[in-house]
Symmetry: C2
């Protein structure tokens, strides 16, 4: 679990979450309500989710050909979520929600991620499905489907991928044939559907991408449908089985508590779907939700990184082994391993990666709130641009570097870390999903460089750099931070020069070479962004220290970890910039037969 | 499995393994016998080991309180090993072995590692135990214990760690009390003992580190003992249970086919042990074997890296998904994902890491042979020094970077890689042990910088650098390699300057600061060493290409991967050198309360 102190520092001190209450949308809330819901979520996560994380992993759901069986704790945990009204946290009062800021909701979600991602996925997906209907559904659809989702009586899924189409949604084959009553007959297979089948709720509402025959080719011909497991009558009572067949469960390295399914629609009988958001508008609907879904992935990765950090820290503080390198006297007592420089390296790396990643995800979540609240078109556009360019980084950086963080966490425990008696190995396995789902990290890097950096002639990139420079100017008021300010200024200059060079190549139409090293670009810009987040945290630490009455240890730890990130991690971007600026084509020119 | 072509290139073309036959020790062999034993091992690995790797992982051994149960394929596979005489491969003819070079044995072992590490561990450990008795046992001990091990009738283990003493062997507590008959009574617990209990062989011979009361403190008081599961009579017939109690099996993230045990000695009755190699000489005995054990770990990691590379390569060649970035027309057929730059990056990284790591491990294995054959004291000393300084790198570099390699292999498969239907996730889990066992990678970095680099006033380091420079001079005859020669020359200069600076700090007695960033040092020197191995392979590829009659695709692939390593990976050492030269003390000065 993430300690209250860390959440308070990030939400209130660094991001001034309380100020959101000055927006009319959040006027009924204040810091006390934020605190109360986060505390309550933390308690439920600890008591009802963390308790069975290991068991849910060891005894994964199984399908006997008729039903999916799973351990009873999952249902109990989700019952507590439903009872606490957590699914509706960010929904409008009018829809039965609590209309909390997305930022506050994300702080709650981080606790569930840290406690037990496998069980949490069921209600995360339900929130996502309800969110889509809230944005694009008709009022009838909202009444029939969204409300039961928000109330937690039904659960939801997202059905995008198919066995032959994962990254390339243009190639999905599921068909939606118009019926006389305005509904559609859905036929096809959907793969990797998390929460696709279970007995946890009365009904399951699948949000399905499919193609209406005769529509445009590729992604332009995709539409979105509500496809319930049980069709409902006009009063919303689940009545008839909608012939969605579970072809099988996927068995995975991690996230084992979440059923992951291959579903066949319209095979054993007619499957009815209901169009959402208009014909051929499906991808736009999905992308509307994508920013938030991707922030959710990044946050999950960061929370798992953080959870691993805390477990390994606890171990390092209490495991005696070895003696100081400068005083190796076998007659002396051993020291706790936290005293060893290399163990401190592994702890600092985890702390720098996971707290930096958390800061970035919370920053992104706050942008979602600012965007939702802002009524000034210019500011809205600025928030949207910043969110657009940050989203692929928010998804990919934490999911890549927090898996690495878990690698080091496991290493701190040595042989014990390799066993299932300690949670590190499970966290390491769970987190390995995050670089893959919601668009692989490779796809994120193409989205970042190929779409977000170049859009509107680089407007979002310039805006982001300006924003970083403003924060550097603010931080430079603290003399202790002067070297980091200078270093980040230099990093921004490097990143800008590299970006300009690459965009020049794109302008010449050489897209292959422009995008050849897109992952290096994402790492480079990502490290710069995380350094920026650390500078923001360090500045806040300086301010709070100066104000007195604060936990000096906590804040000194923040300052020292900022130093670590700037001295040990940020310098790698110079090499990446050099590679990118050289327009290296090694990846393109490797002969396929040479592999 | 590693293709014959790769093994031939590495062993014969790059390392001239056939020339070992000019040494009297290997005079009875020739390339044909080498080929035959490697082919035979490859066949057994494919047919008897690879076939049940997934099942052995899914159905791990379990202990019912009396016996350990495991799937029958394990016993069958090991039976094939015993029948083929593989355990005795590197032992002397006089001991019943085949007296093959260690290099050839390692090529065989790599195939078993690639096929199924969990089952292979049983006979690898047996070879190690026999090896220790061969080096330090009395002739009676050799007859009684070593021969049955070599014949594969009995299996062996190494018992070093204890629950409270893993990295710090100075703190082991197991006691060996002298008995009137010259034997010892062994009392204590040993942790992480692979192959510590099973019914696969008639007897298990444990090689146990313990302390004779009254001896020196710390590692100087450690002795080595033969401790059989069943005590044997004068004819070597296992007779009496020696009261080694299995306290439990450790359940791990990977390597699941190998029982990993907590053993209690002398708890339920007297456990008898027999001293090997003299009192208080145990650590020296173990370290005698350590070079080879650590090469084995590095090789296992490299082989798993390579296996993951080949699986992901096969997937990338046959999975259609997406279209070229420069021609995204949904009406066109999809391309195989090997066409995408970012997939090529993930493949090239794996190829560069795993083939580079294999080359280094084979290079180290050849040094073991040269050392064994050489009768010239000066050359012997040179081989020993080179082996000594390379060993921590051979253990740590492949085990760290080939886990990363497997991370990318899994990523190539996307969602499929995350499932247990494909071998990547298992390989990724199995390989995760290698950074931990046989001395954690952190310990290796301290051994490298704190002991090997500084020993004999840096003699081994200078010798290594001279050796690299000789190879650069040789490679510079190929004009195509000129840029890499220059880059490696520069890398050697950088590494040398950094090393001198650090050694200066050591001379001033500031050991904390000298060793503060030892892992960065290992990565820096390791990357330089792997670049050297790539230059050696590239030079050989140029020569073979010039000679005609060769597989151009294979050799061009080697040249291009060398280019990849030099342009994409080697440049990172500059940042590491800068950090090390700055004598950065961030790790040391982080306040413990700040974590």
């Amino acid at each position: 679990m993430i300690p209250r102190q860390e959440i308070d520092f990030q939400l209130y001190d660094c991001l001034n979450a309380a100020a959101l209450c000055s927006h009319p949308r959040y006027a009924e809330h204040d810091r006390q309500t934020f605190d109360a819901v986060i505390e309550n979520a933390t308690r439920i996560a600890r008591e009802k989710f963390a308790d069975h994380a290991a068991r849910a992993d060891a005894e994964e759901p199984h399908f006997d050909g008729e039903r999916v069986h799973m351990i009873p704790e999952v249902s109990e945990a989700l019952g507590a979520i439903v009872e606490a009204g957590i699914i509706g946290s960010s929904f409008d009062f009018g829809d039965g929600g609590s209309q909390l800021p997305y930022l506050v909701t994300q702080a709650m979600m981080a606790q569930f991620d840290a406690a037990n991602v496998g069980t949490s996925a069921y209600f995360f997906l339900t929130m996502g499905a309800a969110n889509l209907i809230a944005a694009f559904g008709s009022s009838e659809q909202k009444d029939l489907y969204m409300r039961p989702l928000i109330e937690g009586r039904w659960f939801g899924t997202m059905c995008l991928s198919e066995p032959q189409a994962g990254s390339s949604l243009a190639d999905i084959r599921t068909q939606a044939i118009p019926q006389a009553d305005g509904s559609y007959s859905i036929k096809g297979s959907k793969m990797w559907i998390s929460g696709g089948e279970h007995d946890l709720s009365e009904n399951i509402i699948h949000l399905v991408l499919a193609k209406i025959p005769g529509g445009p080719a590729g992604t332009k011909g995709i539409s979105l449908f509500i496809v319930p497991k049980y069709r409902v009558d006009a009063q919303g009572i689940p009545e008839h089985h909608n012939h969605i067949a579970l072809a099988g469960l996927n068995h995975k390295i991690g996230y084992r508590g979440t059923t992951n399914t291959l579903l066949n629609f319209g095979e054993s009988g007619a499957t009815t779907g209901y169009l959402v958001g208009g014909a051929h508008n499906g991808l736009r609907c999905m992308f509307h939700m994508m920013n938030e879904a991707r922030i959710g992935v990044g946050l999950g990765a960061a929370a798992l990184g953080y959870a691993g950090y805390r477990y390994s820290l606890e171990y390092a503080r209490t495991r005696p082994q070895g003696r100081p390198v400068a005083a190796r006297d076998a007659m002396q007592d051993q020291v706790m391993i936290i005293a060893h420089a290399d163990v401190r390296r592994m702890l600092l790396k985890q702390k720098a990666f996971s707290e930096g990643a958390l800061a970035l995800c919370f920053y992104g979540a706050k942008l979602v709130d600012e965007l939702a609240c802002s009524e000034d078109a210019e500011r809205q556009s600025a928030y949207q641009q910043e969110l657009d360019i940050l989203t692929p980084i928010i998804k990919a950086w934490p999911s890549h570097f927090c898996v690495e963080s878990n690698y080091w966490g496991l290493q701190v425990l040595g042989g014990y870390g390799y066993t299932r008696d300690y949670p590190l190995e499970r966290i390491y396995r769970d987190n390995r999903l995050n670089p893959i789902h919601e668009g692989t990290n490779g796809i994120q890097s193409l989205d970042l460089l190929g779409r977000k950096v170049t859009m509107q002639n680089g407007a979002a990139f310039r805006l982001l750099m300006n924003h970083i420079r403003e924060d550097i100017a603010g931080a430079s008021e603290e003399t202790a931070l002067a070297p980091y300010c200078a270093q980040l200024e230099q990093a921004c200059a490097t990143v800008t020069v590299t970006t300009m060079k690459l965009c020049g190549v794109a302008m010449q139409g050489d897209l292959d070479r422009f995008l050849a090293n897109s992952w290096e670009y994402l790492e480079m810009l990502g490290h710069t962004i995380i350094a920026w987040q650390w500078l923001r945290m360090a500045r806040q630490a300086c301010r709070t220290l100066a104000s007195g009455n604060s936990d000096t240890d906590f804040l000194q730890g923040k300052l020292h970890t900022c130093r670590y990130f700037f001295l040990h991690e940020l310098p790698r971007i110079e090499r990446q910039a050099a590679l990118l600026e050289s327009l290296d084509d090694t990846l393109l020119t490797m002969p396929e037969s040479g592999f």
